[in-house]
Symmetry: C2
Subunit: 291 residues, 2 copies
């Protein structure tokens, strides 16, 4: 996964001449090791992180276990995760994560979880469509890929229940994929394909929107929408709950949080505005379908 | 409780000639009613809320129940809660909440929970001492007041586990206080006393610090510390979890969140600076003791 990390960091830096990813390697006896690559205050990305980690620990948190019988067991896990928050309010945020777990004993159970999704502050159908179509293509290229099912999972998962709204336009999300040894190879191949597809799914959207002019009103809307992102990640997200419980440095786990966020009751969209249209835009739709 | 709400709002407005509390009354059939009073972008307070609510609902959330046998029962609850986040980084944030629950049936169980605590971005011993001493005086004036026990509860409760740090300098925190009918009167009297003591415990500190000059470095530190506040409230706080599950408007529940927040790996205090001293300052200490 460090190969993909290196490649993605290079591609993100290519897009953002003003930004450089710093390295934060870590090693913690009895827990694991990893490297967080993080960019702050770039020209295109305001905050971005591409983290890899390998954990080996005694006590599998129930939120990560496929069933209660595996909770508390010794396990190892390898994961790559990334979140990008752009400066320009018209560029959506992007998140992806792939994680491979193995329970370490003779009848070793293993599984793969992962997915990717996108969170715009302004709704553009073109973007949601091209994003979903790129992901669907990647799923279709692999026998185990199940775009429709995983797309539905994603819509259900990234839901900010207390706001009654989706976090973004979704993508795909799956967990606890397992099988025989042969399936393990197929899943590894799919993971590689999906990590490669990120460039095709997300980067064209960044290029398309990063130069759009904006003012204070759009910036304030973005900061308010980022509040929803924080609310989802800290209240509901399983990966965040799991991460904060592992003992991994909280700065690495919370590298997913946006840089500057604003909570205010005053941010209420004007009727008929682009901001108001977001709530009807953020509904589960067949973005990859033919029209 | 609306009397206390009115008085406190008036006192906070007196302190802040640039700020006015707006009214957000609400009524929801099958749930309850209440009024959120909120101030944004004042001269002294950047965001403040004083909310009262009366809930009457069918399904008591387990986090609020004193024991599993009461979870899921029909209940009514009256509460007042307030959070103040100041503009000036040297003015601590303040939080207080009092809530009275009653399970609605013949052998009606009831209990009171509540407390108040303070969260500075910069540590001043004078402030922590005067704050705790005022609270202790109020507890000592009421037979049921148990400052030492409640102070310890508070230190344990307002702990940001994944950061290994306390949220602030604490205060008092108690829950599930109950007893006979006579105790109910004593608890109501204590609640009134505590709500009155807020003016004596917190407002002098605001007056003392609100004019302190500061620059970008202090502002950035404040925004980073506010991130910890958000992390605590969304990840651990029982009142927030309870509130987000009741169906009460999320803007009212999340009125506790600070206005502008920043997450950045770049905010690392200089050795020996006032910012670095905060972590040793934020330790459980006998703030109300004689020295």
């Amino acid at each position: 996964m460090t190969g993909h990390q290196r490649r993605l960091v290079a591609e993100f830096e290519d897009l953002d001449p003003g930004g450089r990813f710093a390295r934060h390697p870590w090693r913690s006896p009895g827990l694991g090791h990893g490297e967080a690559r993080t960019l702050e205050d770039g020209g295109v990305f305001e905050r971005a992180a591409v983290n890899v980690s390998v954990l080996r620990s005694r006590d599998l948190h129930p939120v990560a276990a496929p069933g209660p019988e595996l909770a508390g067991r010794e396990y190892s896990a390898a994961s790559i995760s990334m979140v990008l928050h752009a400066v320009n309010p018209y560029v959506p945020s992007f998140h992806a994560n792939f994680r491979y777990f193995e329970v370490s004993d003779a009848d070793g159970e293993w599984w793969l979880g992962g997915g990717m999704d996108m969170t715009p502050s302004y709704g553009f159908e073109t973007d949601a469509e091209s994003f979903h179509k790129a992901i669907k293509r990647c799923c279709d290229e692999h026998e185990i890929g199940a775009y429709q099912e995983w797309k539905k999972n994603c819509d259900e998962y990234f839901y900010v229940k207390h706001r009654g709204e989706m976090r973004g336009v979704g993508g795909v999300f799956f967990d606890h994929l397992t099988g025989s040894g042969a399936d393990r190879t197929a899943l590894a191949a799919f993971t590689g394909g999906a990590l490669t597809a990120i460039s095709e799914a997300y980067l064209p959207i960044v290029r398309r929107r990063m130069g759009t002019p904006y003012g204070d009103a759009q910036r304030n809307w973005q900061l308010a929408r980022r509040g929803r992102y924080v609310e989802f990640n800290l209240v509901y997200d399983i990966g965040t709950t799991f991460g904060l419980n592992t003992g991994v440095d909280a700065d690495n786990v919370l590298a997913s949080l946006p840089p500057v966020v604003r909570w205010s009751r005053g941010v209420v969209p004007e009727p008929g505005s682009a901001e108001e249209r977001l709530s009807s835009f953020l509904q589960p739709r067949d973005w990859a379908g033919d029209r």
